[in-house]
Symmetry: C2
Subunit: 218 residues, 2 copies
């Protein structure tokens, strides 16, 4: 099947990109520049991996998100909280309906370039704090995309029954250079090692028993 | 309920705006500049009606649609076909998953400005050629929006059981100046009177028995 892959430059979506290239015909990697503090770190890495695989990479500019939406993940928002992902204060980093917006745009793009599917790296550990990562969002959203497109575009979630550490194992198997992926929400020079997504990144490598090539600030 | 209204500047969505202002607390009218041939005619009218009602009006720039998507409705596409809406060639004017994209963005915006609902002017006559106007798209999309937002944002479709002529009647009752609405896909100085949406506009006024204030080229 011809597919479009949503690829942010993070470890999950980069693994989804290589995995999809292994299983399908990837017609493009699609990234979104929505004004987060770490977009400038992620996007060049998403582009780099597409280039490694000889794939078209498109960046969709969504400046209105930073202008109109409320979230500490955005440049217009407050400081990124530290601590484990499940902590209540990580809620501040939710960008309202971000997955819905990205999936809707990817669906229209897929229909335009005659792809029959879109791939998103959602996994079983996606957090209770993100309502647009949950199954009760994903299921109707996928239905709406199939019903709302001529090509009956399918939403593929290859990692939906896996945990983040399983994605690390799969990525390692696919030979992915994880040093060329970005997680940290702070978007400074190195991964901070303290925000929710850094804590989770460290844990995933540790549990998977794969060496973590990331250089953390601490 | 606090609501955001999707308002293009066309007669249906402008009527939805006044209708919503009558029934709810409208916190903003939301328009999308996605590179159609007629956006430059519609958007100032959407702004004008919001101003009449003393409402905030936001225009979301979606330049990527014209850059990446295929449709004759777009500036990058071919000529607008003439004839009745149901004709096969009107399919060329479909912008892939446009409603899905606009609704997803409106959902994120609604959540950000603490509105509990979004209003869309979908009606029973929305065309078989537009898959993202159909009930089997709208129903799961609305479910995804409610499930994917903290505020359980509701999708309100006040005209879903009505025909376009009923919307004309309701608009007339609300005192709307329909001369300040735009339908024609061609986006030239006057309504062409020949494209699918002009034909449908004329018919709606005629069936409703409301005087059509539109000046058509022919």
């Amino acid at each position: 099947m011809k597919v479009v892959v949503l690829v942010s430059g993070g470890m999950d979506s980069v693994t989804a990109l290589y995995h999809a290239a292994d299983e399908h015909e990837v017609v493009a990697g699609l990234s979104f520049d929505y004004g987060s503090k770490h977009n400038h770190k992620e996007l060049p890495l998403a582009a780099w991996h597409c280039e490694q695989l000889g794939l078209l990479h498109q960046v969709v500019p969504l400046s209105f998100v930073d202008d109109l939406f409320e979230s500490d993940l955005l440049k217009s928002g407050g400081e990124i909280p530290e601590g484990h992902y499940e902590a209540e204060n990580m809620k501040q980093t939710v960008v309202p309906f971000r997955n819905g917006i990205m999936m809707a745009i990817a669906a229209g793009f897929a229909e335009s370039i005659k792809a029959g599917g879109l791939v998103i790296a959602a996994h079983s550990g996606d957090h209770a704090i993100y309502p647009d990562c949950r199954e009760d969002f994903m299921k109707p959203m996928a239905e709406a995309i199939t019903a709302g497109t001529y090509a009956d575009v399918k939403v593929l979630r290859p990692f939906i029954d896996q945990r983040k550490e399983d994605i690390v194992s799969r990525g390692s198997e696919l030979g992915i250079d994880f040093s060329q992926t970005w997680s940290c929400y702070k978007g400074v020079e190195l991964h901070c090692g303290k925000c929710g997504t850094c804590v989770e990144r460290k844990e995933a490598f540790e549990i998977a028993g794969v060496e973590d090539p990331t250089v953390y600030l601490e």
